[in-house]
Symmetry: C2
Subunit: 168 residues, 2 copies
């Protein structure tokens, strides 16, 4: 979808939030198209990746790592469990919190997604070049983490309510 | 809640889509907090801005300019009209398409939002510095427009008025 327009958009094209959102929608659209054959959303992909890399985490840990609200995360995990890609297991030690694991099928899917993921990412990188990608990713981390040039490390108090949701 | 984590996030922190989404959520969170007293969302702000700058556009034109789906746009505009900030007028010439205008109240609100918008944007710019902001905005436009180095689709001219322009 082209954003080309002769309209006067005023200050919008210069606002970080506006261009972030535009870019994110375009990238997610490519992601959705790429992963449509697997019926996997960006959020589902992130959750599968984190569980694969860190088997046995609690729901709260995975949700917090990805900045997903707990209520949204429960539904997301229900769906992955229904599709037999991930599972909750109740640890003997602590009955209050489930530990999360991929099933064999889930692990196989994550492996299968590697090639299309790389193709997707390469298309995005082609838009800015390899150097541009490096600069972009670093700048986006600075925006997300609130660090200027990596120097000021997250002076939380000065920055108002970011309440938890910095992920997907 | 901090996004700092000792978990292994695998390839996620290097994926353009993942860091885009993280940064976008953080910036939008600041926007929501800033504009909570006015009960204005980023999408509502964008629509008000475009109507203010281009009075008399059709719904389709505004929706297309902002990349908002038509169904979503109708609800969004209904809400702005209910709050007497914008209005649909039926042009005599073409009865099929409404033309959009701000009300006096809507125009006053847009003026009132200028200062908090600038404060919001300055907080975001502080995270990457002024030069970082310029690079970031240019890179994001390249991602969104699919142009490498701005050469293919987007004429550089349309991106230039960044530096001196009111700072927002």
């Amino acid at each position: 979808m082209s954003q080309k327009t002769d309209l006067d958009l005023g200050p919008l094209p210069e606002l970080i939030g506006y261009v972030l959102r535009r870019a994110q929608l375009v990238v997610f659209q490519d992601f959705f198209t790429t992963f449509a054959p697997f019926d996997i959303s960006p959020a589902q992909f992130a959750v599968l990746t984190v569980i694969e890399r860190n088997p046995g985490l609690t729901q709260s840990q995975v949700a917090a790592a990805l900045g997903i609200k707990r209520t949204n995360f429960v539904g997301l995990l229900d769906e992955l469990e229904r599709r037999a890609l991930a599972e909750r297991r109740q640890p003997a030690r602590d009955k209050r919190s489930y530990a999360l694991y991929l099933t064999g099928e889930g692990a196989a899917l994550v492996r299968k997604l590697k090639a299309p993921l790389k193709a997707h990412e390469n298309r995005m990188i082609a838009r800015v070049g390899a150097d541009g990608r490096d600069r972009l990713v670093a700048l986006l981390h600075d925006v997300a983490d609130g660090a200027r040039n990596g120097a000021q490390i997250r002076p939380k108090a000065s920055r108002s309510p970011r309440r938890g949701s910095a992920g997907i």
